[in-house]
């Protein structure tokens, strides 16, 4: 068994987002969440549903290195069917964020003013609809004051404050779960729905998290240490990521 890396800790932290989720679609963005989803499905959440990234549901658990032809497909889900799943709420997505703020607003559209951005990114994509229709979490592999910001430039995924302002149409199914970064695990279980530290990854000081965050975090006094995978989980992580894709995202 090789030594436990930060990437392995992050993988388990992502997997935990889907503990006891039941039979829902998991849509992980990034290698670590993709591995975490497979770990969750292989262990404590066997009913999770993953897609092949094209237009099919995958039967069983495939490795991150599996070629499309090696997958067993169990159902046909073109984009139109995906929207039906999104709007039915039977999904928990973990998106990435170029910026995430204190109330969990996320930006993947553009940095700077919208009519003349300093940096054009991919666009809002489905983030506005995802975040008000089903559980949503975020994965930020590069925690810094440029990614964890006081307020995002373009609200794509909707945070707790903005959902509340938009009223019951937005809040009814809005369910922001957790943010996993390379430094720690965060949630929004505070009185005002702002972000709180749940745990710092092993070897990461709370001071390091504070210095890398552009707003004040709650939960600083109660924060724990993110659990490390046990031997069985480590064996699965290595089996499911034989080429070490997680280590390219979070270098050891």
């Amino acid at each position: 068994m090789s030594e436990i890396t930060r990437a392995d800790v992050c993988t388990l932290a992502c997997a935990e987002a889907w503990r006891d989720a039941g039979e829902i679609m998991v849509s992980p963005f990034g290698s670590v969440p993709a591995l975490g989803a497979r770990l969750a499905k292989s262990t404590f959440s066997p009913d999770l549903v993953l897609t092949d990234g094209e237009a099919a549901l995958v039967h069983g658990v495939s490795t991150l290195a599996a070629k499309p032809t090696e997958l067993t497909r169990e159902a046909y889900v073109p984009y139109k069917a995906i929207f039906a799943v999104v709007w039915s709420g039977r999904r928990h997505i973990m998106m990435m964020a170029s910026q995430v703020d204190r109330f969990g607003n996320q930006n993947i559209s553009a940095i700077g003013p919208h009519d003349h951005p300093k940096a054009q990114l991919v666009g809002v994509r489905g983030a506005p609809g995802n975040s008000v229709n089903h559980p949503t979490s975020y994965w930020v592999p590069n925690h810094s004051t440029t990614t964890f910001v006081e307020s995002v430039d373009v609200v794509c995924g909707v945070g707790n404050d903005r959902a509340a302002q938009a009223g019951p149409g937005a809040t009814r199914f809005h369910d922001l779960r957790r943010v996993v970064s390379n430094l720690g695990v965060f949630d929004f279980a505070t009185l005002d729905g702002s972000m709180r530290v749940v745990s710092a990854h092993p070897g990461v000081g709370i001071d390091e998290i504070i210095a890398a965050t552009g707003f004040s975090l709650g939960g600083l006094d109660e924060a724990g240490v993110t659990p490390e995978p046990d031997d069985a989980q480590m064996a699965l992580i290595e089996q499911l990521d034989p080429r070490g894709a997680r280590l390219k995202e979070i270098p050891a």
Binding site: P78, P128, V155, G169
Partner: protein
């Protein structure tokens, strides 16, 4: 029965400045690139482009023919960002109405069903409504009565307006001369809604066959575009290149990479466009063949 087979040139000739053009496909997948290339060499301008954006949007915006884009993203899939699109946006050279992918779907569906809007939660609380104030909200009219759901009693929802198109263009594997078309790839995307939302409806295809013979080429269930949805059909082999059009061909990743590399440098872009985009579709396909032979 009308024979709808025509040419790229005839399709392009119908395009006029100021039109709203819908382009099928998704990202760098099954895009009607031959028609996009033909537009690059036309004299239309001030277009509004409506698309699940890929290199179609990058190329058209770079050509200066586009006033406004309506989309939820622009991506090349295997390469996340399109440099031509980024540069245009960062220069403030193009207007953007940025909508959620699902709202985009509903906007096309509303136009196809000839209703003014369709309702969604998507967009509520997000910057979509701040940056596109022309998108309006609606109070739930079912706050009481037999269909009332108390949990949505006071809800305000997004009324996504119909995205009405002057022209829509989609690319498929095989079409027939009557205007039926078969998509053999993994996802039909929203091509039928682009066609449904448009006044003039163009299909380009790898191959055009005799009317009534499509079921010789694959399952009838794959003929997802029928002739009530189309006005004109053109045969454009390789017409989705360099985007994917399975099972005919996958994405030309090497060529897409060359496009991206060139798009980042003005001199390299001038050479790329001179070599590949200055002529007609035949010369594009020949230039790609020659390029491939060099690799």
């Amino acid at each position: 029965m009308a024979n709808k087979q025509t040419t790229l040139a005839a399709m392009t000739a119908e395009m006029q400045s100021g039109m709203t053009i819908g382009i099928g496909g998704w990202g760098s997948r099954r895009k009607p690139m031959a028609l996009v290339r033909a537009i690059l060499n036309s004299d239309v301008e001030d277009l509004t482009v409506v698309a699940y954006g890929g290199p179609d949007v990058g190329l058209l915006v770079k050509s200066g023919k586009v006033k406004k884009v309506i989309c939820g993203f622009v991506t090349l899939d295997s390469i996340p960002l399109d440099p031509l699109w980024r540069a245009a946006r960062q220069a403030g050279a193009v207007e953007l109405m940025e909508v959620d992918e699902g709202l985009f779907y509903l906007g096309l569906q509303a136009a196809a069903w000839r209703v003014p809007f369709l309702v969604a939660r998507a967009g509520l609380g997000s910057a979509v409504l701040d940056n596109a104030p022309e998108i309006r909200t609606i109070e739930n009219p079912y706050g009481d009565g037999p269909f009332a759901d108390p949990a949505d009693g006071g809800a305000t929802l997004v009324a996504m307006p119909a995205l009405r198109l002057d022209i829509a263009a989609v690319h498929v594997n095989i079409a027939d001369t009557a205007g039926n078309a078969m998509v053999l790839g993994p996802d039909p995307f929203f091509d039928e809604l682009f066609l449904g939302a448009a006044q003039r409806r163009f299909v380009t295809a790898e191959k055009v066959v005799e009317a009534g013979t499509l079921s010789d080429h694959g399952p009838l269930e794959r003929v997802i575009i029928h002739r009530l949805m189309t006005d004109a059909v053109a045969e454009t082999p390789g017409g989705a290149h360099f985007t994917t059009n399975l099972p005919d061909y996958g994405r030309d990743e090497a060529f897409q990479k060359a496009y991206v590399t060139a798009a980042k440098e003005p001199e390299a872009w001038a050479a790329f466009s001179q070599r590949f985009l200055a002529g007609d579709e035949d010369s594009y396909q020949q230039a790609v063949q020659a390029w491939r032979a060099e690799q």
